[in-house]
């Protein structure tokens, strides 16, 4: 067992973990934060994307021990109280989800994209979401949802 301290959604947790524990399992099973999903065994689907020290990572391909000392944000940490994040609102408004399995990862990847590029073109949105697979939507509405969020965030920032 290795003792790690990880700040998740602003709260610090100290836990003993086996080194082989994946970050996604630490979040889901030790911290009961089940918003982050596991969709594959090959690091390709992006259902598990969270932010670690400000950049998006696949938590199925990161060990919990690698997050020792880091600050992690999951989908649960995105909303501001009861006020949805612009991306969450965008996915709702633009029907960016069907079954919703890919959605937490899509939103976390999109949040990383918008942080670096607040005004992406549709091509840039698709490139930014390359690591996220969706089996339902055909991606069109996901791109619309991200565009909606970008527009909303830019208007709010302009105010």
């Amino acid at each position: 067992m290795t003792t790690i301290t990880v700040t998740v959604n602003g709260k610090s947790y100290t836990r003993d973990v086996e080194p082989r524990t994946l970050l996604v399992h630490f979040l889901r099973e030790n911290l009961s934060l089940t918003g982050t999903h596991v969709g594959c065994d090959t690091s390709q689907c992006g259902a598990c994307v969270v932010h670690m020290d400000g950049v998006s990572v696949k938590s199925c391909t990161t060990l919990a021990v690698q997050a020792d000392g880091a600050s992690v944000t999951t989908i649960e940490g995105l909303a501001n109280g009861t006020e949805l994040h612009a991306l969450q609102e965008g996915f709702w408004e633009k029907h960016g989800l069907q079954c919703g399995y890919c959605t937490p990862g899509m939103i976390m990847s999109a949040a990383d994209l918008l942080k670096n590029n607040p005004n992406p073109t549709d091509d840039e949105i698709r490139h930014g979401l390359e690591g996220n697979l969706c089996r339902c939507t055909g991606y069109e509405n996901i791109v619309r949802a991200v565009r909606y969020a970008a527009e909303k965030m830019n208007t709010v920032n302009a105010d």
Binding site: L22, G46, V57, T61, V65, Q66, D68, S109
Partner: protein, 284 residues
């Protein structure tokens, strides 16, 4: 899928890391983990110990050095893409901005990619074209490995047991040199089925020197020396490029699979060699 059990350590210095490596022959170094952890999850690898390099400060960062650049082994693709010191190496940025996906680029490291020697990885072609040097340290001391000697075979490099890559040096580009990398990506994995990097130096309207690196097509990355010879001395026109690449794949060891058979892949070597050279010259 969960890896089999292992110990985990975060040495603070290279000396500590080397001692740990020497003490346990089944220990492995951990960089970004984006080649190693997927294989461990599938239980294709089961190291007894992971020696995480993330706390060793000297492996990080990119610096300008002697007109060229030194890339710390633990530099991620995303950091390389954003680095001012690497801006001039367009072929490198072509690769580091399209490898895998955003999350792979946020974690995967330049040193890890080189050490892994994956036959379908992008960087090997780029490093061959740029004429890089791989700096390593081991119990016998430090040494610099010329890139032409580095890729030995399928997942095999010139790294000796117990050696750690500390940095990669890129030489200064000669005046009139421009570079590019293009790839034919596997539609499922994104890895290169054929990837070609070209570095072309023009002087007085002629190609005075060039280096062309190929990855993805065969068991390990290699230079396309026949193409280099045919292109050198030509005027760099579309017609001269077409003639230089015409037989680019001949005589190469090519691997076919369900995504692209051997003959097709061999044909694509010419196609992508041409595209890379055209793209490089267009940037001159």
């Amino acid at each position: 899928m969960i890896p089999s059990a292992f110990e985990y350590a975060t040495p603070a210095t290279l000396n500590e890391a080397m001692a740990m490596l020497a003490a346990d022959e089944d220990a492995k170094l951990l960089a970004g983990g984006h080649s190693l952890l997927p294989t461990m999850k599938l239980r294709l690898a089961a190291p007894t110990k992971l020696i995480d390099l993330r706390k060793i400060g000297e492996l990080r960062g990119v610096s300008a050095s002697g007109g060229g650049a030194r890339i710390g082994a633990m530099t991620t693709y995303a950091e390389a893409t954003a680095s001012a010191a690497l801006k001039g190496y367009a072929a490198l940025i072509d690769a580091t901005s399209i490898i895998g996906d955003t999350q792979v680029r946020n974690r995967g490291t330049i040193g890890g990619a080189m050490a892994h020697g994956d036959p379908a990885a992008d960087l090997p072609a780029v490093m061959l074209a740029l004429g890089a040097t791989v700096n390593v340290i081991g119990s016998a001391g430090s040494r610099a490995i010329a890139i032409d000697d580095f890729f030995v075979g399928m997942l095999t490099t010139a790294l000796e047991e117990g050696e750690i890559i500390t940095s990669i040096d890129l030489p200064a580009l000669a005046a009139g040199t421009s570079t590019a990398y293009v790839k034919f990506a596997n539609p499922a994995s994104g890895y290169a089925m054929v990837g070609v990097a070209a570095s072309v130096t023009m002087s007085g309207g002629k190609v005075s020197a060039c280096r062309i690196g190929l990855t993805g097509a065969g068991p390990s990355a290699t230079r396309l020396e026949g193409v280099e010879q045919a292109l050198t001395g030509s005027d760099g026109s579309e017609a001269s490029i077409a003639s230089a690449v015409a037989n680019a794949g001949d005589g190469l060891d090519i691997l076919g699979d369900i995504h692209a058979g051997e003959d097709y892949r061999r044909a694509m070597v010419s196609v992508y060699a041409k595209r890379a050279i055209v793209a490089a010259i267009a940037r001159a």
